[in-house]
Symmetry: C3
Subunit: 334 residues, 3 copies
Amino acid sequence: MKEFHDLADFQIGEVDALLELAARLEKNPEPTALQGKVLALLFLSPSLRTLASFQAAMTRLGGGSFVISPNMSIHGLETRPGIVMDGMAAEHIREAVPVIASYADAIGIRAFAERESLDNDIADKEFNELRALCDIPKINMESAINHPCQSLADWKTMDDLSIPRQGGKFVLSWAYHPRALPLAVPSATVHMAAMRGMDVTVVRPDGFALPEPIMHKARQAAAAAGGSVKETDDRAEALEGAHVIYAKSWSSTRAYGNRPADEELRHGKEDWCIDDPWFETAQDDCRFMHCLPVRRGVVVADRVLDGPRSVVIQEARNRMYAQMAVLHQMLKQS
Amino acid sequence: MKEFHDLADFQIGEVDALLELAARLEKNPEPTALQGKVLALLFLSPSLRTLASFQAAMTRLGGGSFVISPNMSIHGLETRPGIVMDGMAAEHIREAVPVIASYADAIGIRAFAERESLDNDIADKEFNELRALCDIPKINMESAINHPCQSLADWKTMDDLSIPRQGGKFVLSWAYHPRALPLAVPSATVHMAAMRGMDVTVVRPDGFALPEPIMHKARQAAAAAGGSVKETDDRAEALEGAHVIYAKSWSSTRAYGNRPADEELRHGKEDWCIDDPWFETAQDDCRFMHCLPVRRGVVVADRVLDGPRSVVIQEARNRMYAQMAVLHQMLKQS
Amino acid sequence: MKEFHDLADFQIGEVDALLELAARLEKNPEPTALQGKVLALLFLSPSLRTLASFQAAMTRLGGGSFVISPNMSIHGLETRPGIVMDGMAAEHIREAVPVIASYADAIGIRAFAERESLDNDIADKEFNELRALCDIPKINMESAINHPCQSLADWKTMDDLSIPRQGGKFVLSWAYHPRALPLAVPSATVHMAAMRGMDVTVVRPDGFALPEPIMHKARQAAAAAGGSVKETDDRAEALEGAHVIYAKSWSSTRAYGNRPADEELRHGKEDWCIDDPWFETAQDDCRFMHCLPVRRGVVVADRVLDGPRSVVIQEARNRMYAQMAVLHQMLKQS
């Protein structure tokens, strides 16, 4: 594998092979598989799960990693092309990224959306500029519009829990949050559930529809896998019969990058906090999923998050196994 | 071993087994013993020795570790139960700690005392809340009232130097410091020396008596091990015949959590700086011990710290070997 | 090898042995050579290449490392001897450095020049005080006046590119930069190129002559190796026939430590930005070298840095292989 950037780059059979490998490594550790191998971890945005799970993954496979973050270890990084660097920044990403990659067998890169232009973020403009600077195997550790490691982990979590693929009902619900968050997780999640063959419903208030290119991509995946995708603002209809309610807040797409307008649109939507009544018409064993971090009492009620429906810790733990599978496929010499 | 939280949880024979293992690993490295094993290191308070010695310990045993610190790598962590998280903090410890633990085979946690309520700190309230969130093997890397890694290292240091157990005189002396420091090290130390069977004297000014529950616990350990524990403000009496003078500053316990009152109590006590005259009536080869970091010219005079009595670097180095023994017992499959 | 502090401490044959080892490790990895070995990395000044390349080097050899930096992980460190530590700093380097070293098999130390006294910096006063505190194998990761890891990497890069030793023309050119930078890289570089037997020209404006002790040391190395060293402010003469133009900015040595005077001396020298015309009279395949980080459009034009002459990424990558050779010689038991 040369790159793990988007689940859409893989066939379902390839995803299944990764999931089988993840399950095998969970049961049968291979503590010398990647002896002497190095993973570079470049964080242009902060992280807890990603930081910890990738370091742990490499250790469990016998290799190692190093972390580079602008805040913790290096001078300011310049990103603008063609600039005369007579200001604060002492290094340009055009040197920094290839240098970091030059020490590693693979590189993971994480960069949040700029949340100024919706078109740029849907096109993953900034992230693709970073990708283009590396010629070693690459892992997307969350970009403006994608988060394939989270998606692979979530897929594994649903498999572990025997949640049906075809015929399973997956509800991705917008949730209230005081800030305008990136589209990466909802975009990756709607596609992942569709690719898994599930019947996917995105439920969100007016003004928060997912972008059409994202929905189009998910519909294509559903068509290939025997599932379906729809979007609604009717919560009652959406939740009926759900096997999974996956909560996530995201920016208004109507007022993307416009902070006052976004705030106006989310104003009064504090009731989009997933709570027990949301599960009333769902399947009896309907699960609550979230990628974390999650704001308690805002995105989800404590009693849901702390209750038996919640599988958020399993999702987080599966980040490690999913990434071990990706790293093993990328770096293990046959 | 499921947890290394307090030397009092162990029988003397168990401590001796750990010390033998530490000595064996010092002489005969086992660089593949913990291959593929992961230690999570969660720092809610900063550190140098703990940070370095645990990472080094895992490397020497062939495993690895990752470090999580609120300041270096993650969004603010909320700790209050039942709160509506609509402020700055993006994640609650109720998710963060189990997630971090989910990637690891064992977790070390460090959290300083809050120094507001003496009862809460003696009960190790905050730390016990953190402990309760993990279901993997745990190591106390310093809590409000305990520091078992330091104690095991100090015990090994005294063994290495052939300082007698029964009949050895151990003096724990309060020292001046401009700030009100936690009770963890003095509380752990008085218990450790008592459990080692030594005759322990705590010498401190009025207002700085160690809390009665701490002294009671130490007296019980002394009774079991054939030693003794007493407390005094008479420095001359305390120091006579000492095999070890162990210096440490700590908060006033009379004015605990009351900063102006604590400052008034420590005012004028700058002569509680361990210097050559303190050793005049001690054993000829009496040693100077301190857990570090230490303020030169404030807690101890340069000539003592730089002189032949000082074993502070050996104590620090033994942190690594003591922790290697703990990790080996916890994580090595037989 | 007990220390890697200065290429001048080694015979040419010893440097060649390191270069052969570096090339061998590049082709034939030894992922268990340093199993269980620990490298301490002490950064008193920030870094990207050094931080990443040393961690990667240890992982590739099967060992591990830990990083200590005053900004990321520890309380303030006091450096002044004999001081009464009643201020902010909680620990003195006289304890911190030996403690850090006590956990490791070797230690790398990085400390930038203070840039107050030229004599102190040429004598590497601060760095030598740090060195004196460790009794384990040591690596200079950049001091006030030296950077042997960069030099060994640059030497390897020139060997890899078949740039001639004797008869090769090496031009070290001062370049414009808005700040007064240390002398470490130019001082190490002029000596390295001379020791390699090349004909070395240092070209710089008036006021920026390298210190006489540095030039003297380089001339001695040239005499032993069959090369030559000269210094000039005549750019046209300097660049003619060059095999390598190595760019670097550095402080004025006439106004060392005097910021307004240094700024006045560098004022108007923005044309010391290496650009295509600089290569007109050089060898056809003349290379552009720089240690990085480099300011684009200030030190060097984008078209040179992005063009085929530039070997800056190779230099950075060779940091890792050069350091692997040093670590292997230091730590591998025969």
